[in-house]
């Protein structure tokens, strides 16, 4: 999914000429379409007046930014110390089996992206998974299945 030119303009317009707005603008685009296509980076570089190489440098530095298309739903499994101790690894493997993809990949139909994260800072809720921005604490395999089923039924095409 690529944003249209007018969409990109709307997302970057208020930051015209402001180099320091770079990360915020990239975040806005990432939020909107879940990844950063090359045309978007080029547009941001032109509008903000930041060299394209530096834009690319920032985009590749932060794990939050993706330079490849991501699924419409993003599942993130925490493997921080607390989650790890309480079965985070098994939970991640369950997600991998269920979605049929390895961590860091996107399903061929473009529906799900699975990611692992080193700590979300909510260790009291371990093991923790995040689906579409919602945090699910004390996650179990059964709970994961129902969350995924709920997302699947969510009126997606």
């Amino acid at each position: 999914m690529c944003p249209s030119k007018s969409e990109l303009e709307a997302l970057t317009e208020k930051s015209t000429g402001q180099k320091r707005a770079l990360i915020q603008v990239l975040q806005d685009i990432q939020d909107r379409i879940h990844w950063l296509p090359a045309e978007a980076l080029e547009h941001v570089a032109r509008t903000l007046g930041v060299p394209l190489a530096q834009v690319y440098g920032v985009a590749t530095f932060y794990k939050f930014f993706s330079l490849e298309p991501r699924g419409r739903h993003v599942c993130t499994v925490c493997l921080g110390t607390a989650c790890h101790v309480r079965g985070g690894q098994a939970l991640l493997e369950h997600f991998e089996r269920k979605l049929g993809i390895a961590a860091g990949r996107t399903t061929p139909d473009g529906k799900f992206t699975l990611e692992r994260v080193n700590c979300l800072g909510a260790c009291a809720l371990a093991p923790l998974a995040v689906v579409d921005g919602r945090y699910y604490g004390r996650m179990s395999e059964a709970k994961a299945d129902s969350v995924l089923a709920g997302v699947r039924e969510d009126g997606d095409p």
Binding site: L41, P51, L52, A53, Q54, V55, Y56, G57, T60, F61
Partner: protein, 836 residues
């Protein structure tokens, strides 16, 4: 201020960093990321020092020296810390060469080559023995690396011209990134990815060619390791000596250092202290000087035509044939085309030869009209003179810069560096024209439509008047005001752009105006120059006319003093003579368009490289190139420098002076000659007022041309306010603006000889507005034919939104007569067709 470093009291001036202060005092502090020409980075951490009163260590490169500071640079704690830091750096850098026990004997015995299965540095590293990292390891005293070695296994990037990038050897000091951004203003490179995958790279990791790189080589020169190395320079054998020369390619005249082994030039590098370039150069100066001196295509021995074929001959035989042919043609039947990129000494002898044997109107260079002759014409026609002689570094101090219809990054790279520096200091750039590098850094842009340049100039002058620019003390101000109407015939968006530009220029003083001969070309060229002059007076701005060819300015002074027509004008007369077949013999010693069937019956070619003209000649004389002849060169600033010959002539080549002397003697004028270069220079000084006080022994950093003549009191020049923009006569006809892209060196054309350079420069493109392209039915990259009357040129289409509808732009090398004729006209209505 006074401070103490390692128990020594040190007196420093200005505001140096601790590292700078220590270096001044001769106290060594190791560093890998610092460079005097770059801003402090504090990346490598090797320069950490201890400052009394602070309980952490401070990087000396990023800590300003302060009064009374007490600094220690080599406490046991610092020494061990440095070793640890260096070990960490080396863990990711193949370091066998740095710590191997056999490193001193390896060169002779090659004992280690069989022991290593993988590239670990050492014998396979291109800079082994000439590596800053090796020197730092030595200085820090590291003799082993305890950490496990990590080979990052990056693919070596060999897809670009001139140099390779092996990021397995990179230590991430960031010098290349910083020089590209801070000094060159290109910002092609950045750190990409993160953690142990971090490397230096371009946007999307594309090849440099697709990332806006101009291949100036600055990154290669600052790299402390073998990560960036010039491909053509093999690690061995090394240069035995170096020699300083002035780069002859363009008028900026960079100081270059040639690395020489025996009689061969191995490389050319910008000299760090040389002016105006200060350690910088361009792709030609950095990578293409060696090729211009040797390589295939160099003429090594004299040739004469026998039975229709050119065959090698002795020097005397060739001179005899040339003399006989020239004499036979008679005084009126001879013409001389002399080279425009030679030393003053050689140019002087050519002019003397021309004065002796030919009509002055039959003596010219084939170089396109220079900005100096255009300014002289302005003086003659309108009675004002632009006193030239500003140093390029004065651009750095300006508050605003108007770059007028000029491609600084490509045609005047050193002037562009000064603009970049000014912008980094807060100056505001007004980019008039289509040059993309300028537009990307500009605070305001102006469209300069082909054929309407004078209108834009007039519009800017009118806008300046509206912002209230009213300098006192210059005549003609009231007339200027009257001639600039309030409501101009320009559209409102143009009016806004002009107003914005005018406000930037008036509120950020002093302003600088940069332009070259391109501004003076075309039917409205002289009006454009007049408007630029008026704008400069309105703003109190500094004018920077920029020359193009090497020594163009010096030779212009010679022509003027010796009574020869200025460049451009001389060619016009000679070209007409060729067309009328007025000459029986032509002495062709300079580069010239391919003469094809306009070749006179007898042709003597003298030069460094074979060309179509050389192959059609009756006599071919091999001439010395700039570094083999030495001599005096004047750059666009008016900076005069003399350098001695760096290497001997190859084969049977001789200096132009020697050849001219021999030829003149054979033709019955033994007095015309070259006893020695110094004597010729003395003679030049008596004949050319601007050089009268030049002393070649004076310091070597270069003196300046005296400002010739009196320019009187500056005053506004009357010039007609243009009524509207020029439009093509009929539909389907496009106004083509023809620029000059000549960047050869006498007979050496880097576009023809270097595939890499051709990829960088991309010759033969025509820039068209996308709307016109749509209408004609062409797309980006199509092969086109541009035709106008009898002439036609081939070009590749480039769609460019900044080009105005109904116009197009191209740049020609003037290597054919058609190209040259089009260039002289500057603006041509053409029909554009897709080539079948």
């Amino acid at each position: 201020m006074k401070l103490t470093i390692d128990d020594r009291e040190i007196l420093v001036e200005g505001a140096p960093t601790l590292l700078g202060a220590a270096r001044c005092a001769g106290i060594p502090i190791p560093s890998l990321c610092d460079r005097p020409d770059l801003e402090p980075f504090a990346g490598c951490r090797l320069c950490l020092v201890e400052i009394s009163g602070r309980n952490d260590f401070a990087p000396a490169c990023a800590t300003p020296a302060a009064e009374g500071m007490v600094v220690r640079t080599r406490t046991p704690e610092l020494v061990s810390l440095r070793k640890k830091i260096l070990e960490l750096i080396l863990a990711e850098h193949p370091h066998a060469c740095l710590v191997c026990a056999e490193k001193t004997t390896c060169d002779d015995l090659k004992s280690t080559i069989r022991k290593v299965g993988e590239v670990t540095g050492c014998v396979l590293c291109p800079v082994n023995g000439d590596c800053e990292l090796q020197k730092v390891v030595e200085a820090v005293g590291l003799d082993k690396v305890d950490l496990p070695a990590i080979y990052r296994n990056f693919e070596v990037r060999r897809e670009d011209p001139f140099f390779d990038r092996d990021y397995n050897l990179c230590i991430l000091c960031g010098r290349c990134i910083r020089v590209c951004e801070e000094v060159r203003g290109a910002s092609v490179l950045a750190f990409i990815h993160r953690g142990d995958r971090t490397s230096v790279g371009t946007a999307f990791d594309r090849p440099l060619l697709d990332s806006g790189c101009r291949f100036c080589g600055a990154c290669v020169d600052v790299c402390p390791t073998g990560a960036l190395v010039e491909r053509a320079v093999r690690p061995r054998p090394r240069a035995e000596r170096s020699a300083g020369v002035v780069c002859p390619y363009c008028a900026q005249g960079c100081g270059l250092e040639l690395g020489i082994r025996e009689t061969r030039v191995l490389y050319s590098k910008p000299s760090p202290a040389a002016l105006p370039n200060r350690g910088q150069a361009c792709a030609k100066g950095r990578f293409l000087v060696r090729d211009a001196l040797g390589g295939p295509g160099r003429i090594m021995e004299p040739h004469v035509r026998k039975d229709g074929r050119l065959v090698p001959a002795t020097f005397d035989e060739a001179i005899e044939r040339a003399a006989a042919g020239l004499l036979e043609a008679g005084d009126q039947g001879r013409a001389l085309i002399y080279p425009s990129q030679v030393s003053l000494e050689d140019a002087f002898l050519f002019l003397e030869f021309g004065r002796t044997f030919m009509d002055r109107a039959a003596v010219a260079t084939a170089a396109p009209g220079s900005i100096w002759s255009a300014l002289e014409a302005l003086t003659e026609a309108r009675g004002v003179g632009v006193p030239p002689g500003r140093e390029l570094s004065e651009i750095e101090e300006c508050g605003s810069i108007l770059a007028w219809d000029i491609d600084l990054q490509v045609d005047h790279p050193i002037a562009w560096l000064k603009v970049v520096k000014a912008i980094r200091r807060g100056a505001r750039l007004v980019a008039a024209g289509t040059a993309s590098a300028q537009i990307s850094q500009a605070a305001a842009t102006l469209d300069v439509r082909a054929g309407s340049e004078a209108a834009t100039g007039a519009g800017l002058a009118a806008a300046l008047l509206r912002t209230g620019a009213a300098p006192s003390g210059y005549d003609g101000f009231e007339d200027l005001k009257k001639s600039c109407p309030d409501g101009t015939a320009i559209s409102s968006s143009e009016a806004r752009a002009l107003q914005a530009a005018a406000e930037i220029l008036t509120s950020n003083k002093p302003a600088a105006i940069l332009f070259d001969a391109g501004a003076a070309r075309g039917p409205s060229g002289s009006d454009t120059l007049a408007w630029l002059w008026n704008i400069a007076l309105l703003l109190g701005a500094r004018l920077f006319p920029l020359g193009r060819g090497g020594n163009e300015r010096g030779i212009h002074e010679l022509e003027r003093a010796l009574g020869f027509p200025a460049s451009g004008k001389g060619w016009e007369a000679l070209r007409a003579g060729l067309e009328k077949r007025a000459f029986q013999a032509l002495y062709l010693a300079g580069p010239a368009p391919d003469l094809e069937d306009r070749k006179p019956p007898f042709l003597v070619f003298q030069g460094t490289h074979w060309s179509r003209n050389a192959e059609a000649a009756d006599v071919v004389l091999p001439a010395a190139a700039f570094a083999e002849a030495g001599g005096t060169w004047v750059n666009t600033e008016g900076r005069v420098r003399t350098f001695p010959a760096a290497i001997p002539c190859p084969g049977a080549a001789r200096t132009d002076g020697d050849i001219l002397t021999a030829l003149a003697r054979k033709m019955g004028h033994p007095g015309l000659g070259r006893p020695e270069a110094a004597a010729v220079l003395r003679e030049i000084r008596t004949r050319v007022p601007a050089l009268a006080r030049y002393d070649p022994a004076g310091g070597g950093r270069g003196e300046f041309l005296a400002r010739g003549g009196s320019f009187g009191t500056p005053r506004f020049v009357p010039v007609q306010f243009p009524s509207g923009s020029a439009t093509p006569a009929s539909r389907g006809v496009i106004l083509l603006k023809v620029r000059y892209s000549g960047d050869g060196l006498r007979g050496f054309d880097p576009l023809a000889k270097s595939r890499g350079y051709a990829k960088v420069r991309k010759p033969g493109q025509v820039f068209i507005a996308p709307t016109d392209a749509d209408r004609i039915g062409i797309t980006d990259g199509d092969a086109l034919e541009l035709s106008s009357g009898p002439g036609a040129l081939a070009a590749v289409a480039r769609l460019e939104p900044s080009v105005a509808e109904g116009t197009a732009e191209t740049a020609v090398r003037a290597s054919s007569l058609t190209e040259r004729d089009w260039l002289d006209r500057g603006l041509i209505p053409v029909e554009i067709r897709r080539k079948r």
